[in-house]
Symmetry: C2
Subunit: 138 residues, 2 copies
Amino acid sequence: MAKKDMKITLSSGSEPLTFTGQNPHGHAVQLSGNQSAASPMEAVLMAVAGCSAIDIELLLDKMRQPLDKLEVEVLGERVDDVPAVFHTITIHYKIFGDVKDAKAQKAVDMSIEKYCSVSQMLQASVKIIHSYEVLASK
Amino acid sequence: MAKKDMKITLSSGSEPLTFTGQNPHGHAVQLSGNQSAASPMEAVLMAVAGCSAIDIELLLDKMRQPLDKLEVEVLGERVDDVPAVFHTITIHYKIFGDVKDAKAQKAVDMSIEKYCSVSQMLQASVKIIHSYEVLASK
């Protein structure tokens, strides 16, 4: 196993259709098939949002832009078939802070087009649309 | 938004590079870029495991097989490039219970080849390998 490779385990919970994923550090994620926790498909949307949010935070920091907070809204639209894969994922970034619009746009575009490994993998089969707005801090 | 479509939000946490994803029911998933929670790429592995674990539990139930517990081990191997996407995901299912081997194999194969929407989306760009074993209950 190369250093950057990743290993996780997932185990049944005490209730039907509930599962706990765990990484080697013991960090857990609850998933379920009965709305008692996030569903695996919702976790995919969270992973895309999280992946690019990390990029954007790092890129704005390198650009010396004072980011106060990021909020990401993601819509996953599914095909009317089995399996009900996403055909389109629409991501909207709300960038709070005294951040220059051109820098925000650059960070968002660089993440989705270059750095975010989750969106890069999904883009082979899913259309990913993104937008952003810069807002005064809450 | 069609009924089966999905919406999530993700927001910055109080520490740098930490984020909380949330579904409309308020179920939360912690993600981070600094090992203080699962990483987004680990969440993708958990989502594949969870998606197929749900299928396998449902399928074995339909087949009247007494499943006691599922454990799923997943290895994600990444390319040596930016973005460090997975080139191969290897999934091993440990099926605990008095489950017939042929039924276990059928459930696992049906999930990966037909039902699991997360693996179907990833298969466009990632090689997915799976195996299973049936074990006496712990």
